[in-house]
Symmetry: C2
Subunit: 112 residues, 2 copies
C-alpha cells in the first residue's frame, strides 16, 4: 500500500526540522508509546513548561503529533502516519541511489 503523500517542500521542511531536535524526538518517542499531557511531558525535561509547549507546537505544526483536549489538559499523541510519510521520503532517495547502481551494473555488463 503506497500512501501517495503529495507533500509540499514546506511540509517536508517542517517534518525534518521538527525531528532535528533531541527533545522533540524524545517527545515523539514517548507519545507514540503512550499519550501524555503537556505538563506531564514538561516534567521530563530540564527546561521551562513554555519551552516544552513550544516544542510540542513545532511537532504539531509538522503533523508529527496531535493534541486532544481532555478536561483542562491537552493530551499529546504521536502520529505514526507522519513518520511513515518521512520514511517514504527517505525511501525515494534509496531508490535514486539504487537506480544509479543499476545503471553502473548495466554498463559493466555491456563492456564484457
Amino acid at each position: 500500500m503506497v500512501v501517495d503523500t503529495e507533500l509540499t517542500d514546506d511540509e517536508v521542511d517542517r517534518i525534518f526540522r521538527a525531528l532535528a531536535d533531541a527533545t522533540r524526538r524524545d517527545i515523539v518517542r514517548r507519545t507514540l508509546d503512550t499519550e501524555a499531557s503537556v505538563s506531564e511531558l514538561a516534567a521530563e525535561y530540564e527546561m521551562s513548561f513554555a519551552a516544552v509547549q513550544k516544542h510540542v507546537a513545532v511537532l504539531e505544526g509538522a503533523g508529527l503529533v496531535t493534541k486532544h483536549p481532555h478536561g483542562r489538559e491537552r493530551k499529546v499523541r504521536g502520529n505514526p502516519e507522519a513518520i511513515r510519510r518521512a520514511q517514504a521520503l527517505l525511501d525515494r532517495y534509496e531508490q535514486i541511489w539504487r537506480a544509479r547502481i543499476g545503471r553502473l551494473d548495466a554498463l559493466l555488463a555491456e563492456d564484457q
Copy 2:
C-alpha cells in the same frame, strides 16, 4: 544486516537539520544519482555560489554527502549510508508505535 548506528543526538540533529531544506534535499537527490562539482550544483539554483557552497557544507557535516578533489573542482557525491541511518532512526519510531498497538491488541484479547 543491522548497520549498528550508534549515533549521537548531535549527529542525528545534523542529519535531520540538513534534510530540512528543499535546496539541500535537491542536492542530495542529484548527487545520489550523479556526482557533480560545487559550481555545477550552484548553476542549478537561484542563489549565489557561496550560498550553495554553504548548503553543501551542511550536508557534508551531516555525512549526507562527501567531497572528492578532482583537479581544481570538488566532486560532490551523495552518501547512501547516511540515508540508511536516517531510515533506521525512523524505523525505530515505527517499532515503538507497533509495540503499543500490540499491547492494545493483547488487552482486547484479554477482555474477551
